[in-house]
Symmetry: D5
């Protein structure tokens, strides 16, 4: 049973680029053996992550991530059983979103700020897809 899960969270103020790189390295080593793929966006102190894989693997990973002390306010945005993945190629892609296009944010939000807490999961998914189509997927430094 394949599923796709998306959540958002707030990074602790103290999270540095090094911490980010550590998370990505960890993902890239631990996700493939569990058949998990996906994308991680980081911007304005917010994480937005999409996880795809077997239902047990994704649930177990999400539960572990939700308990990770490096972020807080972990909120589920969507979870669905799927017929096929959208991100079979990436153990964990990283979207480089240091400066988001305000019009792109406005398109889906009340103000030009990334705020997954205020919108439907469907809207955040649409935003991630537009980001993927326009921004570069980058690896850790």
């Amino acid at each position: 049973m394949l599923v796709r899960l998306m959540y958002a969270s707030r990074a602790l103020a103290t999270v540095s680029q090094d911490d980010l790189n550590a998370i990505l390295r960890k993902s890239k080593s631990k996700n493939p053996p569990n058949g998990v793929t996906g994308v991680l966006c980081f911007s304005d102190g917010l994480f937005l992550q999409v996880l795809e894989g077997g239902r047990s693997a994704v649930s177990a990973l999400y539960n572990r991530i939700a308990a990770d002390p490096r972020h807080t306010d972990v909120i589920l945005l969507s979870f669905e059983e799927i017929g096929e993945r959208r991100f079979p190629h990436w153990s964990m892609g990283q979207v480089n979103v240091t400066r988001l296009n305000p019009a792109l944010l406005l398109k889906y939000s009340e103000t030009a700020e990334l705020n997954p807490y205020a919108v439907s999961g469907r809207v955040s998914m649409a935003l991630v897809e537009e980001l993927l189509a326009t921004a570069a997927i980058v690896g850790p430094a």
Copy 2:
């Protein structure tokens, strides 16, 4: 909650190009901080404005505009909750419609005059969209 609102109104006979410019300047300074975007059409003494943004921001702005003494017969044409904006790029675009194409008006109306008071909001929206596709968006003088 994003919404899109459209209304029409009749400008007081005394409204000049300077007044129009003042309205646009005001919109361009006040709309962005409230996350409001949209388009304002002026032709034949009629205003047709589309406002997009958060529901509270759009409602508050509409209520303020409806009380503005520079126009009268302010009539709601449409209001809907939306998943994404059509005009995320413009704090307030202005459609320059000094001379409208009669065939375009006839396409949606009984006579070759702009008359949002006589047609469904859906029709006025279709007209605005054709205008946007054919006319130039201009800024204040």
Copy 3:
């Protein structure tokens, strides 16, 4: 309220090209002030006319035409409220159909003759549309 009306009728045997031209001239002077547009086909002694415009204007014009002694057997083929016109550009276009393509007629009819009296209004409308796509719109001599 915009409507589209189509009717057919049989011209009196005595109708000449001059009569036709008189009808077209009359249409071109009287339809625009009433916001009426449309197309008139003449072939084999049959008229097929599409009228678009405000409901009152189209009804009044149709009632006047139905009483015109130059034709008879005036039969309504279709009447519908529409969101937009198909012929906003013509006060009254004339389709020149002195020789119709038999295969085109056969496509919609039992025999290779124009016979709107024998088919559904929907079929006559389809025929008019194919005529418009293939034949030239001409003006009065």
Copy 4:
């Protein structure tokens, strides 16, 4: 080809109950041989009539009625090809609507007045159907 046609018109101020009865008697004698059935509503000086039958018969009758000097502003409200009639039983039923229920009128109109000129044909048809379900069909005096 069966069709259903509905129109509205304004009775001349001078139309009396006797005139009405004459119209109904005429309908009851002339409609059956032509296979025409239907309903005639009269209220507040307005006629609203539904005619069902063969397309030629209904067109011919409508054209004759439209030219009748006892009424004016004859406006087509709807016309459609149908699979079956709604009024196969009445050569011409008469709806007795001297006093209409205001809530019924308000349900479909802006004010509590019968005004088929201001609403879509679909709405007038819905009103006629509610009238038929609640008011009595009566014959001429």
Copy 5:
């Protein structure tokens, strides 16, 4: 053109039962001549009002109400062109909601409080409809 509009607002803290009665008396005298009907709910210092009628009449009334100093935070919840009214019988019904059923509120909201500002207009409309089905419509004292 019939429309239905719903809005919510917060009553000023000073609004008394007498003020409410004054509003209802005013509505009952001014709405009928304008063909406006509807329902007004008051609970926990919040107004929720549905207005039905001609588009111009409803717009004008809403604009006037939005400027009324007895309430604030007037927010549009829904506005749509309709084929028929739901409240043709009431110049302005009043829903007596001194104590709302918590399960009913929970059914549509995150917490057991009436909060139209936090939910979609569609949800508030569903709530009003359940209220109407279960609570009594009462008149002013």
Copy 6:
């Protein structure tokens, strides 16, 4: 934003009826203030719980439950944004399923055992609904 979440988990072998009662008491005291409602099924050492409420409240509670050491293999079964709740009445109902009907289990599973780990979330939801329709909701001892 209302959501409904369902998960399954395996109770540690040591979980007693007292532990169950403690969980239910905790739920009944902590869920109402957070606007959370739902149902908890326990059978054959498996938990199946449905949580309804605001998205933040449900996410926070689920994250806390997932970390609870009294159970393991916590697996998400479904998560969706909803227009209205199914369980607005229960702070946390308990389904008494000491002996499940084998035909009911077979209806949705390969064998007559409760195994949410082997079936689609949609199937587990259907099973819960049938249980609710047939079994009694009971409170803690």
Copy 7:
């Protein structure tokens, strides 16, 4: 491959009740061995027959009937592959239609006469179904 076929024809002027009985007796003896079932209506000198069965059996029977000199103008009205029969019980039911209800005929036709030649096969089928629901199925004298 099961099919249902309907045709109409005109009986020769000379067809008597005895001839009818002969046809029915023939049908009742020959149809069952071929797995053919159906209904035969006779009224006003017109036959309307529905045949159901295997495609080869129905085709062969229709071809034989079409060549029968007791009727003429044999016209196919409908033919379709079906999942199940409507008349599995009758080797050949006979609808007794000496006097048809005029309103029933008018419901589907331009005039109060049975005229399958003038209407769509779908309409004749609807008429047969109403006949079956209201008239008695009878056997030969």
Copy 8:
């Protein structure tokens, strides 16, 4: 009323190319005056013919063909009322199918043989359409 009819039959063993040519010549002289168009395929001793035209004309012609002694096992494959013809251009086209592509036959059949008796009419129609798209329409020698 336009219809399209398709049937299949087995040519008597004695049918020669001359017989075929005679049939085509006859069709080309008799079909146009009756408004009948269509296509005739001959292959492996089987005829497959599509006839389009007025319902009476097609029925009469089919009845005549069904009685023609040059073929046998005449079986109806499909018959439907249509809005427009597919073959308005050919009085009777002939598809030259001396050697059919086995993959084309297999695509729709159990074996690589033309066998309209074993498949649904819809399948034979699909086969004819593929033949028309790939094979040449030829005339009589």
Copy 9:
């Protein structure tokens, strides 16, 4: 993964009531441990069996049955993944069909004989369902 499979086969001429009873006893002892349920019909020397259960269990059982020398011409009629079973109650119900109702058979077949080899699997399933609704489920003697 739940599936439903239906097949038909011809019993060897030598199959007796004792053989049948042996098959049913075997089914009732071997199916429950594998989570297989279903129905077996026997009539006119034909078997028609529906098997429901996990995909592996049903496949393995079907493969074993297909190789059973007591019947031949084993033909698959339908196989689908299902959300829920229709026969969760029976390890293997037996439909007693010594004398089938001819009208029931005719309803779905060309002749009044049970012939699953000649019809679509959908049709056989419909027949089984009607049998179940009308005939008694019996156990072995």
Copy 10:
């Protein structure tokens, strides 16, 4: 009646390339006379085969293959009646899948391994179609 059947199985450990070639040679000689076409994939010790053809031929062949001692765990994945084949050209194509693309496998599976036993038949069919679009069809050595 055309059908398409797909199954999976595990090759015995001892199956060599020669055995594979023998199976393909056998298929290529025996399938055409029975009108069977299809595709055979072999990878990682698993067979995945699609068979298309007449229902009896495909059933008989599947039953024979299921009893073949060269493989085990033969499991049905899908079976459906079809209007047309997808593989009319190949008596039995062979997909060369010595090294599968991991992303392609991940797209449809929990892990990067071919495992038709763990997924829906619809998913395996999608995988086969992607394989066919990207891998080469090869013949036996």
